[in-house]
Each structure stands twice: as structure tokens, then as C-alpha cells.
């Protein structure tokens, strides 16, 4: 495998750290500014709060992908599936919390189950009424899937594009499965009409702010975990695996084990992102598993600059900002723009926006 652009793990220098904390602070202000009266010049609309909250969860997903791809060279096209699985786990919790307030008024069964004639809750729905359990499952299920898939794939040395195709096929298979009504996950329609979480009605500004801050804390935490990994010797092993995996094996490292470790962490982070995403957008359906979603998330990382953690975050925010603006300003152009981004970044900007910036600094 060819050496991708030689990038070192980001060494958080003092300036970088300042910029990052500044950015976190600005983000943290958003829900507060939302509380200002609408007449105030500094007032931030509800739309901004909800969309920024969503982007923060995307940024976590981008970090997860960057850890696997940018550092370790595992181009997973299945992270959208880990994200969706985390989202579904949280969605199951939110569905259970609706309780008798559903359209059919059944005390335990969600509406779609009443509609489909389920006599009782399927066993795998048990326990999801408890938040800690649901939250644990949102991390555990993606992690477990990554463990199984990763073990099978890495053990038989499936690397590069083969792994990408395999993970994409897996995502596709999951999408097909979740579209089925008899899976017990609401089929085509997925979950929606959520009412509350942790005792807060989801529509209240308080709930929005809490979810926003929870996402922000999760982003900072994920960033910290990824930084810890990237600056440790493990981070250097990852880069070495990315550039010359077989050589690492001859040094006595079990690359299967190392990759599996990173892949599982990455999947758990993606699951965490999904779990925070669903209560903020209020819906989860099988469309989240669509292979296009996974690959779009990869391009956030590529645009920002893979192999640098800042890049992943920057990419997630900037591409999604572009998407939000363009899909309203010129909806027909968005797919051209996104497709163009894929082409432009791979051909002309292999180090992404961050690379562009740091090159200017070096000059």
C-alpha cells in the first residue's frame, strides 16, 4: 500500500489549543445567546441551536472516522451504520418513554407495534425504558458489531478497498434489514414522535440546551480520547500500520489486535454521536444506514484534512454548513457540489483545509 500523505499526529501546540478552546467557548455560548430576547442583536435563533447541535454530533462521527482512516488507514464505509445503530438504541429508549401517550394509547407497546399486531414487547426491547441501559447499548452494539466484523476482516488481512467494500456491503445489508417490518424496529418509518428524555419534554429550550451541551461535552471528550491515542506510542503504531502494515507485523506487533482496538473505539464514538443525534433531530429511520451517508461522512474528514483531529472537526462543520446553505439556496447544485468536493479534495487537496492552512503558516 502506498504511503498516504505523510502527516504526523497533531501535536497540540499552544496556539492550536487556544484556538480549539476558543471554538468550544463560542459553541458553548450558542444556547445562552438563544435565551436573549429576539430583539437583541446577539440573539441566536432556534434553528441555529438545533443545527449546530446536529453538526457537533457529526463532528464526533468525523473524529471516529479520522481515527480509523486518517491514522490507521482503515477506510470504513460502515461508520454510518455504527452511527445509526447508536441512534436506534437511543430511539428505542425514546419510544419506550412515549408510553401510553402514543396514538393507540397502549401502555408499553410503541404505536408501530400495535399497528403491526405485536402481542408484547420483543425481548430485545426489554430494558430500554431505562436510560443507563439504553445509553450503554448505544455504545455497546456498535462496538460489538465492529469487534465481530473487524475480527473477521483483519484476521484474514482484508485491507484497503476490500475492507471498504466489505463495510459498505454490511451497511447496505443492515439498511435492507432495518427496512423490514418484522425486525421490530418500525420498518420504513423508523422511530419518531418522541416526547421526552430524562424527564424533559424534548421541545423545550431546556432540553435543547441540555442535549446541545451534552453533545459538546461528548465532542470534547472524544477529541481528548483521540488526542491521547494519537500522541501515544499507539498513535505512532497506527500511522506505521497505515503506511506499511506488514513491516509492523515483522516488528512483532499484532496488527490485527491494534486495528481491532482502534476500530472498536471508533465505532463506539460513532455510536455515541448517533445516540446524541437522534433526540436532537427527533427521528431515526433506515435511511440513516444508506451507504451514501457513510461515504459522505468520510468526505467531511477528507475536506477538513485526514490524519489531523482538528481537520475532522473542521471538515464536519464546513461541509455541513455548505450543505445547509446550498440545499436551500440552490438545491439542484448541492449534489454537484458534493460530488465536486470528492473529486477536488482527492486530486488537489489531499491534506484538506487544515493542510492548506498549515502550509500557509509554514511559508
Amino acid at each position: 500500500m502506498s504511503a498516504t500523505t505523510a502527516t504526523l499526529p497533531a501535536q497540540p501546540r499552544v496556539t492550536l489549543r487556544l484556538v480549539l478552546w476558543g471554538a468550544v467557548l463560542v459553541l458553548a455560548l450558542i444556547p445562552l445567546l438563544n435565551q436573549l430576547p429576539e430583539t437583541s442583536a446577539l440573539h441566536v435563533g432556534d434553528f441555529i441551536v438545533s443545527i449546530t447541535g446536529k453538526w457537533i454530533t457529526y463532528a464526533i462521527l468525523a473524529l471516529a472516522i479520522d481515527l480509523a482512516w486518517g491514522y490507521t488507514g482503515i477506510l470504513s464505509l460502515g461508520h454510518g451504520a455504527f452511527f445509526a445503530l447508536g441512534g436506534y438504541a437511543m430511539g428505542m429508549h425514546l419510544m419506550r418513554l412515549i408510553g401510553p401517550r402514543g396514538a393507540y394509547g397502549h401502555p408499553t407497546l410503541p404505536d408501530f407495534m400495535v399497528f403491526l399486531g405485536y402481542p408484547e414487547l420483543p425481548w430485545y426491547w426489554l430494558g430500554f425504558d431505562m436510560f443507563p441501559y439504553a445509553f450503554f447499548m448505544a455504545l455497546f452494539i456498535p462496538g460489538l458489531l465492529a469487534l465481530i466484523v473487524g475480527y473477521l476482516a483483519f484476521r484474514s488481512r482484508i485491507t484497503g478497498v476490500y475492507l471498504s467494500i466489505l463495510t459498505q456491503a454490511l451497511t447496505y445489508a443492515l439498511m435492507l434489514a432495518f427496512f423490514r417490518n418484522d425486525m421490530g424496529f418500525g420498518g420504513n418509518n423508523g422511530f419518531t414522535d418522541f416526547k421526552e428524555l430524562l424527564g424533559m419534554a424534548l421541545t423545550t429550550p431546556l432540553a435543547r440546551a441540555v442535549l446541545f451541551y451534552a453533545s459538546l461535552v461528548a465532542l470534547v471528550g472524544s477529541y481528548w480520547i483521540c488526542t491521547r491515542i494519537s500522541v501515544s506510542k499507539l498513535g505512532r503504531v497506527l500511522v506505521a500500520i497505515r503506511d506499511a502494515e506488514s513491516r509492523v507485523r515483522f516488528l512483532g506487533y499484532s496488527t490485527t489486535q491494534v486495528k481491532l482496538f482502534v476500530f472498536v473505539i471508533s465505532a463506539v464514538l460513532a455510536g455515541l454521536a448517533g445516540a446524541l443525534y437522534v433526540p436532537q433531530v427527533g427521528i431515526i429511520n433506515p435511511g440513516e444506514f444508506s451507504p451514501g451517508n457513510s461515504i459522505e461522512a468520510v468526505i467531511w474528514v477528507a475536506v477538513g484534512g485526514r490524519g489531523t483531529l482538528v481537520g475532522a472537526v473542521v471538515g464536519a462543520f464546513s461541509v455541513n454548513a455548505l450543505k445547509t446553505w446550498l440545499t436551500t439556496a440552490a438545491p439542484d447544485l448541492w449534489l454537484f457540489a458534493l460530488g465536486g468536493l470528492f473529486v477536488a479534495v482527492t486530486l488537489f487537496l489531499p491534506r484538506g483545509l487544515v493542510g492548506l492552512f498549515s502550509r500557509k503558516v509554514e511559508k
Binding site: 423490514r180 439542484d332 454537484f336 470528492f342
Partner: protein
């Protein structure tokens, strides 16, 4: 025997039967049904209009039991045919039992019709009515019938009617005849009879087992054909990929869009030729058009973008995915997001019947087309100068270059060739799938699975891989459902790659490391 049949249909006896049955029609439901059956067995030409009238509520009954027949020409008395006033006469009413008897009786009368289609339909109706009364008319009809398909149905109906006979010997005749038929209905009928004739249970069981055995074989053949048909679709979709990915090692995620362009090329050719003398040949003419369009796009893609990313497969994957998005969106803007209709020419419509199997014509054509395209690819790679240069460049680019081969040109041509094949696949898919901008997305993952499963770089592997996956999918569908079958196949491939990471037809040794 022949004499008996002649006697049965002789007018003298028939007349008797006809007039004798008439009074029953004025009675209760049980009597009516009996009369209907007798009329059906009478083979009398007057019985048919009468029974049709009964079915349509045009047979009236006076208080005194006189029957009146209403037609467009007026009302007349039965059987004399004297004109009459309807007056306070009421329609003869029918219940389900009478309706059943009617169906059989009408059938047994119509099986003598001069119109073959009517005869066939009538024979089918008789089968469903299952009355011993029909035995005689069926035997009569069989003696005259010359068309094989109708004869077959008549024999089936005769056997079914014999089952309804109270005579075990006749029943046994029916059982033995049905045992030779490969038909789901025959099986159901036998099982029903078993309850009524417990003393024939052994023979019936034997007959049912024979039928089931043959049904199973037929179903297996049908499943296999469906699998083959799906397999050839996969083969078509994957062949182009087998060239660009398998031979060149370029991962082209826009491959599905090349297929899509081929389907739209078919649509454009159809529209351009519509109303001209060439319109019936639009589909064959679309094949070169689709090849050229997709090949041209492929060549531009390779020279303009992909070649800058050689040796960086992950980047190529992302870049070509973006290209696919752009192509999709461009087509969506030009042609609209809704499906475009590509008409199948007459020779591709309908079904072919082959020894009791009915195969959809367009599926058969796709299998043929898939194999033809495979042959074309193999021939192009093996026997042409271009194929030779292509193999040389793949094996050792630098040495090929020193031999005077323009490797850049060969790359472009190879990629265009692979894309063109995808375009031809689009022609075939336009016949069985919706021609829409995202036509290709449904095939890309399957195509990659086929190539990986079969063994990258091996055309034989692609063929076997496509057919295996197609058949596996169809074999599993009845048990697991279409979607789950797909999921199972995907997971199966993952596990298969565990055992043979390089696919079924793996290259070994130094060639595999390159």
C-alpha cells in the same frame, strides 16, 4: 367403447335426457342442481342456452312450473319455444351448490364448442366442478379433440371427474391418470378425495407422492432458472467491473452510473427512432450506442481524473464516488427524476414454454445476452492486439512501455472498454428495471461482491461468482424472503472471504503479490 360414446351423444337419447331433466329446474335448490348436472351430461345443443340463461337470471318460472326463457328476441316457453308473456313469472333462483353444478355443466357443454379457446376454458371449468356427471361428455370431447393443450386439460378434467364417481374402479382410473400429471391442483384434488374414499388411501398416497416428486423437480428447475436469470444480470453488471477493477485494479464507484448511462442511451435511441421504420430495431441498435456512450465517458474519466490517482486506491474510491454523484445529478436534471419507459420489442415479451416450464422471454434473452457479452470480453482480451497489450501492461508496465506500448493509451482504452461493457449491461437492465438516475446504485455493491467472491482478475471467477450468487439468492428466497436472502448472501460472502481471502479463482504466488 367407441360405440358407447356414439350412443351417448346420439340425439335420440339426448333428447330424452334433456326433456327428462327439465322439470327439476322448477323444484328446490337440490333438484335444480341435479337437473343442471343432468343437462350438462346430456350434450344436447338446447341445454347450453338454457343453462346460460339460468346463470344470468334469464330463466323464469311460472307458479305452475312452466319454464320461460328470456332472450333479446323476447320470451319463449321451454322446451316448446312458443312465444309467451313473462307476466308474474319469477326468475329461477340459484345458490352456491347450483352455481357449482352450473359451472361444470356449462363446461361439459362448451367443451364441444367450435371455438378452441372456449373449449380450453370450458375444460378448465369442468375440472373445478368435479362431478361424475361430466365423465361422459368429457370422454366424448376427448374422442374428438385434436389440439394437444386442450386434450391435456380434458384428460386432467376427466380424471378429476372420475374421482367424483361413486365407483371405486372408476375412481382408481382417475387416480392413476392424475398421478401422471405435474400439477398442484391435481395434488389438492387427490388429497380431498382421500377423505371421501378411505379405502383408496394407499393408491392416493402413492399418486400424491409421485406428483410431489415431480413438482419438486420442476420447482427446482424453475428456481434454478430464476437464479440463472438473476445471475446473468449480476454477470452483466459485474463484467465491466471485472475489467476495470479485476484486471486494471482501478476501483470505480461510478461503475453503476456507467450502467445507468447505458440504460439512458437505450431510452434515447428508442426516442430517436420512434415513428421511423427502424423503431422495431431500437433495442439491438441501442447496444453499440450504449457501449460507445459509456466508453466515451469512461475514457474521459480515466484520462481526466483517475490516472492521477494510480496507486492510491482509497482516493480513487472516494473520487469516483463523487463522479458517480455528479453523473447521477446531471442525468436527473436532463431527464428528470422520474422513471423513463423503455419498451420491450415484441420478440422479448411473453413467455416461452419448455416441457411444462414457462420462462419469461426477456429473462431468457438476458441470459443469452450475458453469455454473449462474456464471450465478447474473453475474445477481446485473448485474441485481439488490444487485449494482448492490455495484459502486457497489467503484468509489467515498465517492460511493456519499453516494448513500445503506449501504456497511457492502453489504460484509457481498457477503462473505456470496461465502462462500455457496463453500458451494454444498462441496455439489458432497461428491460427489467426502472430506468431512473439511481438505477446503478442498486448494482454496484452486488457487482463488487461478485468480483471479489469470484476472484479478482479472473473472468471465469466472475462468471461462476455471478451465477452462484444469483442461484443462491433465489434458492434462499422462499425460506428467507428476498431481503433477508440478500443479507444472508452478503454475510456468507464475508465468511467465505475468511477461508479464501482472494476469492474462488485466486491467483497464487508472485502474481498475486503484485
Amino acid at each position: 367403447m367407441l360405440l358407447a360414446i356414439l350412443l351417448l351423444v346420439s340425439p335420440a337419447r339426448a333428447q330424452d335426457a334433456f326433456t327428462a331433466a327439465l322439470p327439476g329446474l322448477a323444484g328446490g335448490f337440490g333438484q335444480i342442481a341435479e337437473a343442471v348436472e343432468k343437462l350438462g351430461a346430456s350434450a344436447d345443443p338446447r341445454a347450453l342456452p338454457l343453462l346460460q340463461a339460468l346463470q344470468e337470471g334469464r330463466l323464469l318460472k311460472r307458479e305452475d312450473g312452466t319454464l320461460l326463457l328470456q332472450t333479446d328476441a323476447g320470451t319463449s316457453e321451454v322446451p316448446t319455444g312458443r312465444p309467451a308473456e313473462a307476466g308474474d313469472a319469477e326468475a329461477v333462483r340459484v345458490n352456491n351448490r347450483v352455481r357449482g353444478a352450473l359451472r361444470g355443466a356449462l363446461g361439459s357443454l362448451q367443451i364441444l364448442s367450435t371455438n378452441p379457446e372456449e373449449r380450453l376454458k370450458a375444460a378448465e371449468d369442468v375440472f373445478r366442478s368435479r362431478s361424475a356427471q361430466n365423465i361422459a361428455p368429457l370422454e366424448a370431447a376427448l374422442a374428438r379433440e385434436t389440439i394437444p393443450a386442450i386434450r391435456a386439460q380434458l384428460e386432467l378434467s376427466l380424471a378429476a371427474s372420475r374421482l367424483a364417481s361413486p365407483d371405486n374402479a372408476v375412481r382408481l382410473q382417475g387416480i392413476n391418470a392424475l398421478a401422471e400429471v405435474t400439477d398442484q391442483n391435481a395434488r389438492a384434488l387427490l388429497l380431498e378425495t382421500k377423505a371421501q374414499a378411505p379405502d383408496l388411501a394407499r393408491q392416493i398416497d402413492g399418486a400424491v407422492a409421485k406428483i410431489e416428486g415431480r413438482l419438486k423437480v420442476r420447482q427446482m428447475v424453475e428456481t434454478f432458472f430464476q437464479g440463472l436469470s438473476l445471475g446473468s444480470v449480476l454477470l452483466l453488471a459485474a463484467l465491466g467491473l471485472a475489467v476495470t477493477f479485476g484486471v486494471m485494479g482501478v476501483i470505480n464507484m461510478a461503475h453503476g452510473e456507467m450502467v445507468m448511462l447505458g440504460a439512458y442511451a437505450t431510452y434515447m435511441v428508442q426516442e430517436a427512432l420512434s415513428g421511423t421504420a427502424l423503431a422495431p430495431f431500437a433495442l439491438p441498435l441501442a447496444i453499440p450506442a450504449a457501449f460507445l456512450l459509456a466508453a466515451a465517458v469512461g475514457a474521459v474519466l480515466e484520462r481526466g481524473l483517475i490516472r492521477y490517482l494510480y496507486g492510491r486506491p482509497l482516493e480513487t474510491l472516494l473520487m469516483t464516488f463523487g463522479v458517480g454523484m455528479i453523473l447521477q445529478q446531471a442525468v436527473r436534471l436532463i431527464f428528470g427524476a422520474q422513471n423513463r419507459e423503455v419498451v420491450s420489442p415484441a420478440w422479448m415479451q411473453g413467455t416461452l414454454t419448455l416441457g411444462g416450464l414457462s420462462l419469461t422471454a426477456n429473462r431468457v434473452w438476458i441470459i443469452v445476452f450475458g453469455l454473449l457479452v462474456l464471450g465478447l470480453v474473453v475474445a477481446a482480451i485473448r485474441y485481439t492486439r488490444f487485449g494482448l497489450e492490455m495484459r502486457a501492461v497489467v503484468q509489467n508496465r515498465r517492460i511493456a512501455a519499453t516494448m513500445g506500448i503506449r501504456t497511457g493509451r492502453v489504460d484509457a482504452l481498457t477503462f473505456a472498454f470496461g465502462s462500455g461493457i457496463a453500458g451494454m449491461a444498462g441496455v439489458a437492465l432497461s428491460q427489467i428495471d426502472n430506468v431512473s438516475p439511481n438505477l446503478g446504485t442498486g448494482y454496484i455493491i452486488d457487482s463488487f461482491m461478485v468480483v471479489v467472491f469470484g476472484g479478482v482478475g479472473s473472468l471465469a471467477g466472475t462468471l461462476v461468482g455471478a451465477l452462484t450468487l444469483g442461484v443462491l439468492n433465489k434458492v434462499m428466497e422462499p425460506y428467507a424472503g428476498a431481503v433477508l436472502a440478500k443479507v444472508v448472501v452478503l454475510v456468507g460472502i464475508m465468511l467465505f472471504i475468511q477461508r479464501r481471502p482472494r476469492g474462488m479463482f485466486a491467483l497464487k504466488g508472485r502474481a498475486a503479490e503484485a
